[in-house]
């Protein structure tokens, strides 16, 4: 008699433990969005770091830039690949948003997908959004 209880219990347990897999089987999974390169970023083909390094480490780079600009007043960044950049998130031609013009398709698409909510834009402004 105990045997049947144990087996039913085990079956329920296994079903419950694997529930994320069942859930994924019945719902559509979305592939991670690709950040879209538009406008200047599409033609320039030169970023501060290599594509995959940028994807993985852009936040550390921004952190480093912020300290450099605010604390040391160093505002020019000559990258290892020889290109020079203005260390700024959103001001001027040679800044991040100066090249990656569409914040919604470049920053937000991935951040939303990954449920990341950086507070950059509480202070920094997207020049395209200001009327």
């Amino acid at each position: 008699m105990n045997k049947s209880y144990i087996i039913t219990g085990l079956v329920i347990f296994v079903l419950a433990v694997l529930s994320p897999f069942w859930f994924n089987m019945i719902t559509d999974t979305q592939a991670a969005p690709e950040p879209e390169l538009l406008g200047k970023a599409k033609t320039e083909k030169k970023c501060v770091l290599e594509k995959y390094e940028m994807r993985a480490n852009h936040m550390s780079l921004l952190d480093e830039w912020r300290d450099s600009v605010v604390r040391n007043a160093d505002r020019q960044y000559k990258a290892a690949n020889g290109h020079s950049f203005n260390m700024s998130l959103s001001t001027g031609e040679n800044s991040c948003l100066g090249c990656h013009e569409d914040k919604a398709k470049f920053c937000d698409s991935c951040h939303t997908y990954a449920s990341v909510d950086p507070y950059c834009w509480e202070c920094h402004t997207n020049p395209k959004e200001i009327e």
Binding site: Q76, Y77, A80, T91, E122, C123, I130
Partner: protein, 271 residues
């Protein structure tokens, strides 16, 4: 059993030691060539200690107005008298006017210089508008009070804020004897008439103050107040005996605010 002479052992050990040292040395040489380099803007202005001289004789109400407007506009300083755009910012709660934010503003003589009050003070000082702002003190008490080093003194004497780091404790506001700091009790954005894209806004919960236009000095431009002042304000290097500010200090009698406190303000007033 293998036999090894002392001599051959030392030879091998020596070669191995050279080999061990070679890899780091080569890496170092290679990294030196390709690493990223951070530098100042080539055309930026620099000083050993930035200071400001305000000629009170040239300051009129109109000049004050244009200076304050130029500064506040360029730095996205909120104006709580600005009518909120209801469509863009719905449900904005009513304004408490005690929570104003200002970087540079007009002050009466007896508030700006309480230690210089005199029973028979020259009449004109009672009506003159005095422009006051952050003094970028040499011994800045706000810098000492800040627990997170969000407020810090840059090498060139500017007392700057890293808004990313400000936790809104307001110790600096208590420490500043000049009232040069204001706290953002609320999101300032609804009260910015026209957001300038060249400078960030602030967010709720941080303190803010004048930055001596560090972003403009870095581009080789004079601060906004200097440009709007029609010659009444001069900004320059206090430590350079050849500078314009030093020439002015040499020629005129100048005073500083609350000098007795020992904060060594860098803003001088020509009387």
């Amino acid at each position: 059993m293998m036999k090894k002479s002392r001599r051959s052992f030392l030879k091998v050990a020596g070669i191995a030691a050279v080999g061990l040292g070679a890899a780091p040395a080569m890496n170092f040489a290679a990294s030196d060539l390709s690493g990223p380099v951070k530098s100042r803007n080539e055309d930026g202005l620099s000083a050993h200690r930035w200071g400001m001289v305000i000629d009170t004789n040239k300051i009129t109400d109109e000049v004050v107005e244009s200076i304050v407007e130029a500064c506040h506009k360029a730095h996205n300083v909120p104006d709580f008298n600005h009518e909120v755009n209801e469509e863009k910012f719905p449900n904005t709660r009513p304004v408490n006017h005690k929570q104003e934010v200002k970087w540079i503003w007009e002050e009466e003589f007896h508030y700006a210089f309480p230690d210089k009050e005199d029973e028979f003070l020259a009449e004109k000082f009672h009506d003159l508008p005095f422009l006051v702002t952050c003094n970028h003190c040499k011994n800045a008490p706000c810098v000492k009070a800040c627990p997170t080093q969000a407020t810090f003194k840059r090498e060139d004497g500017i007392v700057l804020m890293d808004y990313h780091r400000c936790i809104g404790c307001r110790f600096c506001m208590a420490a500043c004897p000049y009232g040069s700091r204001n706290f953002n009790f609320r999101d300032p954005r609804p009260f910015i008439e026209e957001t300038v894209p060249d400078f960030p806004t602030r967010s709720k919960g941080v303190v803010e103050k004048c930055n001596l236009c560090a972003e403009r000095l870095a581009k080789g431009e004079q601060p906004h107040c200097v440009e709007a002042s029609e010659g009444a304000i001069v900004v320059g290097d206090l430590e350079d005996p050849e500078s314009e500010v030093r020439a002015l200090l040499n020629e005129h009698y100048t005073i500083r605010r609350k000098q007795s406190l020992g904060t060594e303000p860098s803003v001088y007033y020509v009387m």
